[in-house]
Structures are given as C-alpha cells and as structure tokens.
C-alpha cells in the first residue's frame, strides 16, 4: 500500500517535482504568523470552557521521559502516572501515552498492560533519536526493535542535515522506509510520528515544507521537536503545522495529527494551543487521536488547575504525585 495520496502522486515521483512542489507552497510571512499566534493567545478561556480544555489537555499528554538515566523503575512510575494522573480523583482522565526510548518499551508495555483495560499507548522515539545521525539500516533496526517490543507509536526524527541541504527526496524516502518498518504482520501497525526539530530548521517556510513532505510520505502525526533542542515547540511553529494539516485534508481528504513537544509547561500554555487547534485546524482535531502534547512537567500543572476548578482552591505540589 502506498502512503502518498493519489492527488500528490506526481509530486513525489522525482526529486525535482518534489522540490518544485515544496518551493511552490505559499510563503509564510514571519511577522504576520507570529502576530496571529499571539492574537490567538489572548483568548480568555474561563469556567466551563476551561474545565473542558483541561480534561482534553490531560487526555492529550504524551508523558515523556527520554534521559540517559532512565531505568525500569522510572518508566514504571511514569506509566502508573499516565494511567492515574490524579489518584485522588477517579474522574480524572488518563494521559494519551508514555513516550520512552526503544529499550524501555517492554517495561512500559508491561506496566500499562498489567492494569487491564488501560488505553494508554506506548510511544517510542526511534531512528537514532535525537540527532538522527546514523545510517538508514541502523535507524530501521532501531524502529523495528521498538515495534517488536510492542510500541504503539514510533516518534522518528528526520534527517535535518539532508533537509537543509535540499535533499528532499532522501528525507521523503527515509520516512517511507521507517513507516514500512512500523508494519506488523497482524496488521496492527505502529503509528508514525515524524519529528522535524523545528528549532534546527528555523524558518517557517521550512516548517511548512517539511510538514507537507512528511504528510506526503505517510506520517500519521507531525511533531515539532525532540525536546533536546531550543527552541522546542512554539505557538507560531504549531500554527504553521496546523495550517498544513488543515490544507492537506482539504486537498486529499486525509487527516494528519499534530504534536508540539518540549517547552509547554503550564496549563495556560496548553489552553493557548487548544484554542489554536480549534480556530485554525478546527474541532475535528480536538481529540487525542489528532493532537498531542509531548511533555513531562505539564501534566501536574494541568492537574493543579483541574483541582482548583473543582475545589476553588490551589493545592501545593505535595498534593500531586511525582512523575
């Protein structure tokens, strides 16, 4: 099965047609894009709207630990937190997923699986995360390793060097190859998120181009950052990506998800993102299947705000669990 929608078949046929298409996308005016993002950030989300947004944001969190010091114990704790973010409140929804390195997938799966009906997914970063500097077969082996260990989702990184050098076909082919490596014989393929590391691509024109490139190559999700490079997710970058998925659906009928990751720490920030999703891509994307937050500290701020909404009081951090 080919991933590229048929209307775009001609585009991805050759290096030059691909380049022509990507460079023919409307440009992004930096000042205008940043002004639009800032404008959306002034929406005032209160009472019932805030309660809705907080629960939705919790359900969209990919709770992440991507450290050299990660251990099975740490990952088990994280998985428990994802399943029961607020043990004191059974109405609190679970997070969307935990996001770990491939070697931790089995541990995460085990913890999540043992709780029975948990819908929390396991996402694994792969393809020589975070730099992506390895040979293709190593990246593919890395991916297959995570898939075999049971990962539901693969967060791959693109080859930013190849993209910046203008080797779009290479980047495209690599995404297609990684997607193939996400396949399982039982048909339950791992979903593919494609990380751009927008902090390294820098321009909004690049963000728009790489978004289209990844969507044409079959990405289920497009994701801003690894969290290892500053700046990570920003509102304007996410704006450009939301415009891209919106326009892609207009053209092909296919929906692609968006995941800003890194740097989103407060409930207030998360709500700004949700307002942007609502007004730019539309309400169809207001669902964990189509929008995620890659974050670790965000979850507790969401929980604090949620508790404040129900009790009318702020509780100290001691009342919320670590991890």
């Amino acid at each position: 099965m080919t991933s590229t929608p048929t209307v775009l078949d001609d585009v991805t046929r050759t290096e030059s047609s691909l380049r022509q298409f990507l460079h023919g996308l409307p440009g992004v005016d930096q000042v205008g894009a940043e002004a639009r993002a800032a404008g959306l950030g002034t929406r005032s989300i209160k009472t019932s709207a805030k309660a809705y947004a907080l629960d939705l944001a919790i359900r969209m969190v990919d709770l992440t630990t991507l450290e050299g010091q990660d251990t099975p114990g740490k990952v088990r704790a994280l998985a428990a937190k994802a399943m029961r973010p607020d043990p004191a409140d059974p109405t609190c929804p679970a997070a969307a997923a935990v996001c770990v390195y491939p070697d931790m997938v089995a541990t995460a799966k085990e913890t999540l699986g043992s709780s029975g009906v948990s819908a929390v997914k396991v996402a694994a970063v792969a393809t020589a995360f975070p730099s992506g500097r390895a040979a293709l077969d190593i990246k593919l082996a890395d991916t297959r390793d995570a898939v075999e260990a049971g990962a539901d989702e693969i967060d791959m990184v693109i080859d930013r060097g190849a993209f910046l050098a203008g080797h779009y076909q290479q980047v495209y082919d690599e995404i297609v190859a990684v997607k193939a490596a996400c396949a399982r014989s039982n048909g339950e393929d791992a979903h593919l998120k494609v990380i751009f590391e927008t902090g390294e691509l820098q321009t909004y024109d690049n963000v728009r181009r790489v978004s289209w490139l990844a969507m044409m190559a079959g990405a289920h999700f497009i994701k801003t950052s690894t969290g290892k490079v500053q700046p990570a997710a920003t509102l304007p970058v996410t704006l450009i990506m939301l415009e891209a998925v919106r326009d892609f659906r207009e053209l092909t009928g296919q929906m692609v998800g968006v995941k800003p990751a890194g740097g989103i720490r407060t409930a207030k920030d998360a709500i700004k993102y949700l307002v942007m999703v609502n007004e730019v891509a539309g309400q169809d994307w207001l669902d964990p299947d189509w929008f995620r937050f890659g974050a670790s500290t965000l979850l507790n701020d969401l929980l604090m705000q949620r508790t404040k909404m129900t009790t009318g009081r702020y509780s100290g951090p001691d009342y919320f669990t670590l991890d």
């Binding site: 409307p26 005032s44 209160k46 709207a49 415009e243 296919q254 949700l274 309400q283 169809d284 207001l286």
Partner: protein, 489 residues
Amino acid sequence: MTDNRKPPADVFRYAPAPESRSIVDIKPSYGLFIGGEFVDGHGKSFKTISPSTEEVLAEVAEADDADVDAAVKAARRAYDRVWSKLPGRERAKYLYRIARIIQERSRELAVLESIDNGKPIKESRDVDIPIVAAHFFYYAGWADKLAYAMPQSAGRGTDPQPLGVAGQIIPWNFPLLMLAWKIAPALACGNTVVLKPAETTPLTALLFAEICQQADLPPGVVNIITGAGGTGQALVGHPGIDKVAFTGSTDVGKAIARTVAGTDKKVTLELGGKAANIVFDDAPLDQAVEGIVTGIFFNQGHVCCAGSRLLVQESIADELLAKLKRRMSTLRVGDPLDKNTDIGAINSAEQLARIRELSDIGEAEGAGRWSPECELPQHGFWFPPTLFTDVTQAHRIAREEIFGPVLSVLTFRTPAEAVEKANNTPYGLSAGVWTEKGSRILKIANQLRAGVVWANTFNKFDPTSPFGGYQESGYGREGGRHGLEAYLK
C-alpha cells in the same frame, strides 16, 4: 487516518469572559470642560447610549455658540498667559504626566471606550489605549526639540512658533485615539485647544478632561466641548481660532474647507477612504487572509483607512476566498466587553442604516453577498461580517465608503491592472500590498496614490509614522515629525 471519524461529542465553546464594568464610574450627566473646570452649558443636552445595548449612559451638554465662545476665550487666555510662554521642556513634563496617567488608568479608559463606542474590549485594551499613551509619550519627546522638526528649506527658520488656538473635531470610530492624535502634537508645539468629540462617543474625552485636571494641566490649555454638528460649525467658524483640525467624513470636510476659505486659519483634514488591499499570487496567503480580516473587520470596519476593496489576482481568487470565508466563520460577534469578541456593535442606528442601505445596493447591483452564520444580539446595532464577490469598479460598493464590516472583492490579472484599479477612486488614504517579492512591494508602493501603503500587513499604527491622505481623503499629516508641521509656523 481517513476523514470519516465522527466529530467529538462535546465541542470547545468559549464561556463568556466579560471584562468587569465596575472600574468605570459614569456620571448621570456631564457639563463642558472649559478653563479647567466642568461648567454647565447654555444649550440643551443630549443622551449618549451604549450601541451594544441601547442603554442610556449619560446626559451630555450640547455646547451652543456662547459656550463655544467661552471655550475659545479660555484657550486664548491660557495660550497668551501660560502655555506659549512655557519652555518646551516644561510642556513636555505635562505631556509625560498625562501619558503616564493614561497608562495607569488604561483599563478604565478601555472599558469606557468599549461601552460608549461598541468596539471589542480586546481592541480598546490592546490597540486604542496603548497607542493613545504612546502618542503622548512620543510628542512629549518632541516638545523641546522643535528646532529640529521643520525642514529648513521651507523657509521657516530654526525657531518655529505655535499657531495659537486650535479647534479640533474628532470622529466616533476611535474616540480617545483621535483625541490623542489631535491634542498631543498641538500641546507639544505650544498651542492650546478646544476639542469637540463626536456626538455618539463623548465619554472618554470627558474622562480625559479629568485626567488633565489630575495632571494639573494649566486651566484652559485643553477645553472639551460636547455637541453635534452645530457645535462643530460654531467652533470652525469662530474668529478666535487659528487652526482647524478635523477627522471625519469627506462631506463635512468639504464644508469645513468652504467655511475657512478666505480666512487665515490653517486646516488639516483627515477624511474618508476606500482602500485597496492588493493580494498577488505569490503572497503569503495565510497571513494575507489575516491582513484582509484586520483590514476590513477591525473596529467593525469603522476605519477611514479600512481595506474595504480586496483586489486579488484572479489566478488565486478561489483559493484565497475559500480561506477567507473559513477564517470569517471563526470571527466572534457580540458583547464588546467579552474578551473573546472579535467584532463589536455598529456605533449608531444611523450608521447601521447606512451600512444596510449600501449592502442592499450591492446585492441589487448583482454582487454575491456572503456572511458566515452568526447569531446577532437582540438589542443594539449589529451587522455581520460580510463580503461581496464579483464586484467591479462599476459597483457603488466598490466606490463609496461603507464604513462598516463589508468587504468588496475584485480581481485583477496583472500588476498594472491592480495599480490602475487601486488608484481609480476619488480617495487615497491607504493601501495594502501582499507579495513575497520585495522588488514588487517597492515598485507597487511607489505607484499607489495613497498616504499610507502597508506591505504584508494592514492597519498598523505607530505615533512615529505620519498618516494622511491624497485627494478627497484630505490633506495634512498626523503622527511622526510631519505631524508637528500642522501645529507650527
């Protein structure tokens, strides 16, 4: 991954987020601010209402000829005895003080402006009031540097002098901002003023009068007289003023020009417009859509420099219009005090009637009318954001200023045709150009007959930038160093 999912069960509805009215204290009635005090007028009084609810806000005095005369005399006294004798650095201190008080009382001013005018609080809070303060700060800085303000070649020497008493008449679309545009440069240059705010929006000017008292501005330097057209005529025709500054409609501007013809009063007029917002096929489309929306729906389209004619290159017209309509569907029309409102109330019943009349004419002339679905409040004056497609230069809605949230969409084929159509208007206040090609921006901007040309943006204002028109959009410049020339000799 295909698009066949059911929509989420619940949707993200923004709960009401009203800004509190409790910060403003509207008195039941207001007098005239003459000679540093509020005095009763000799004429009748009139009511000012909230256009979003039609609620009566206050009774306001209508200045008659005797009141106008008293105000001009107070301004003359203050000019002769105090203000013209103060060194620039001392005048600057008062302007800085006023600017700081405006910042301190910005929330109060913003809420009052939104109540009296109908504009969304996010605009009065984030645009109007901050620029008002910026204007006073900016001209405060000029007050002791006037020797550098005038071009030497104009034969004015290096010691420019104030004109005397300025009679200033401002419109209802940006009540306090237009006040700032008028008063800040006049005072910085050493003039005293008599200012008449618009009949439908007098309240922030009257609050500004209180701010003048709070700043200990010498009595008579600023006089605020409220009233309608008759008060304005009396002011313009008063022999005791040296300068008329007017912002408003082209018809009234012409009448003013006739009145002062043959006198030695100096005049600046900032009048109507029918600006072209030109979008080329290589434009940054998503930002162009934002610019179009800002251009025509900002302040309900009650903007003299509004981008009311969209000229879009025919090859991208369908794509751009689809994007524009989708964007218009997200505009939130309603309570001006709700922080999430994008489009507030039309300022008056009279203006609403005018917008309706011209829109009906557009339809009758065969243009395609479209508005997003939106629920309008039951009371007050409201008009949905509207666009007309298939408009040509032969349509009245392409020629006449509607001064409301109504966009006329025209197409063009080549840059030359775009310029020709853009300039084919008796007005010439502003224009917009959207293209990623820098060389095209420079070339087209030079060919457009408009006082302000925005490139890849629209409706951006800054005190350092001069603003004014060509032809029937008026003469003289406000803002920037150029704005000083209108108040110096």
